[in-house]
Subunit: 184 residues, 2 copies
Amino acid sequence: MPTPSHTSIEEIVETGRRLIESGGIDGLTMQKVASAVGVRAPSLYKHVQSRGALIRLIIEDVATDLGRSLEEAVLGDDPGGDLVRLATVFRDFARSHPESYGLMFAPIPEEWRPATTLLMEATGPMLRTVEAMVDPENALEAARLVTAWAHGFVSMELVGAFRLGGDLEDAFQFGIERLVEALG
Amino acid sequence: MPTPSHTSIEEIVETGRRLIESGGIDGLTMQKVASAVGVRAPSLYKHVQSRGALIRLIIEDVATDLGRSLEEAVLGDDPGGDLVRLATVFRDFARSHPESYGLMFAPIPEEWRPATTLLMEATGPMLRTVEAMVDPENALEAARLVTAWAHGFVSMELVGAFRLGGDLEDAFQFGIERLVEALG
DNA sequence: ACCTGAACACCGTTCAAGT
DNA sequence: ACCTGAACACCGTTCAAGT
């Protein structure tokens, strides 16, 4: 006799994302997800293939959100100003979702990795803005310069690698201003 | 009756590092370390406080090696040339120790994180080289720009986040050249 | 068609008992 | 003083049995 599902893939992903944000990747156990959505751990496997597949779905969800936030930052009038806004939104996103952002480019098992397509879509607004600033043949390289810097900065900030004193806001401003200059 | 130790902290760290390099962080289990050094898992706790503490020691070992490699890249005659060499050595190091490099700035539990002192010592050659290129009041910000870019680039490269085509060597050269220009 | 308890193969870690 | 087996509390995952 068919029995209706007590949960859904959406609820499972959302719950898992919350668990990661509050307790890091080790805080995501199938048992905790299960009890949070009101079933037992084995039932989760009706909705998701494995813990790794769930983690991948969560990271892809985060990447999609980041992409949306970045798209909103692009006004389209002034590429230099857009790039500053993009960098700021990028950093703010990372700081407000530190654990899940951290997983997006982290060295994790292949099975957990988000689809590269989604990562590229997420950083798409950066590429399009940079394309408006430099020669077409340098656009990809220039976008990679900005994206690498932005990710490197926020990931080092999140793990506390910048502790020589100094103001991190100043360092971030210094960085984005020099990059805009270098590309403008 | 005293019995001599069958292993040592150095051997344990070295073995653990090899396990991480060949199988990622999940490849480092206390049981595998133990059997590789010829004891049973419980004996490891005579030499190391916990798995997390062992991971921290391994990352610190890697950071020390990276610092040494970077120091050798600094010739001291031409800061711009030194910076290009530093960036190249940084990237080469990451690519030849992908798994353990990846852990150095990864979002891992607090207990596993390397001492910040060691991270700063590792990136010290970058700071000192940049200090020879810019105004003293901008040195820290400028060093953070270069370090963030270098780490961001290689960590994204290692996880395969750059897949829009294009040549990664070109992108790396483009990046370091623009940065040297921007600071010079 | 989904949920469950029981079971399996792993973990990290503790601890009393050996030598 | 270090090593060991046994045990404990957890994991992720499978599967036969329930409804």
